[in-house]
């Protein structure tokens, strides 16, 4: 559904700044998809698709999305993005 632009989807559950239990998605994109033009479409499409798939609205879940390119993920070596 999200391929080939999305390489990996990671998530964690934690309270957001208001204290509401939330799902934080970390989306790893291909380097091509991370370029400004394709990214514009992706950042609108990915949350809609994931929220629909997990039925976030019905479950009353707050979801948040952040994105990194594959190269950035490899460069940063951040365990949160490599799990």
């Amino acid at each position: 559904m999200l391929a080939p632009d999305v390489k990996r989807i990671l998530y964690s559950i934690a309270p957001d700044w208001t204290g509401q239990e939330s799902l934080f998605f970390r989306i790893v994109l291909t380097d091509e998809a991370s370029e400004p033009k394709p990214l514009r479409k992706i950042v609108l499409h990915v949350p809609q698709t994931i929220n629909k798939a997990i039925k976030a609205e019905e479950l009353g879940l707050q979801t948040y999305f952040t994105y990194r390119s594959k190269s950035e993920t490899e460069e940063e070596r951040d365990p949160e993005w490599e799990a």
Binding site: S22, P47, F65, Y67, E72
Partner: protein
């Protein structure tokens, strides 16, 4: 160009300021600035409905981040019976983007343990830009006027 548009443009400049190794300060300020761009777009739209122009700046100070979150959180999945379907979609996108950006802004401003990348920051600014477009498409509708009031005084 209005202040909110200037802030959005500045967010883009900050995100692309350092070509090779972006400084965390530039990236974090870019995220925060994108949030404040949308914040000022909405609060300015709300106070511009106040007849006495000299009181608008004081009125703008009455907006609270948490109350605006509360209204946006309630709007992002809201249905608007009787309203144009496209207008409803635009308003939901504005509300959803506000919620997303506010959370990111809190992380960017206060969480020193977190590192940001250009894609993360562009992924925050791009929806802000889309929210500006959506707001301009819907701002004259009744549902948008009601929404502006609720940003100041949330529904009980």
């Amino acid at each position: 160009m209005a202040f909110a548009d200037d802030l959005l443009a500045q967010a883009g400049i900050l995100a692309n300021l350092d070509k090779k190794r972006p400084r965390q300060a530039s990236l974090r300020r870019a995220v925060s600035t994108a949030y404040y761009a949308l914040f000022h777009l909405l609060t300015n739209a709300a106070v511009s409905n106040w007849k006495q122009a000299r009181l608008r700046a004081d009125l703008a100070r009455g907006f609270e981040h948490r109350k605006m979150y509360q209204t946006c959180n309630g709007t992002r999945n809201k249905q608007f019976p009787g309203a144009n379907q496209t207008s409803g979609q635009h308003l939901r996108l504005v509300a959803e983007t506000f919620v997303q950006l506010q959370a990111l802004r809190n992380l960017a401003d206060y969480d020193n343990s977190r590192r940001w990348t250009k894609t993360q920051v562009r992924g925050s600014i791009t929806p802000a830009s889309a929210a500006f477009d959506s707001w301009r498409a819907v701002r004259k509708e009744t549902i948008a006027e009601d929404f502006l009031l609720r940003l100041l005084i949330p529904e009980r």
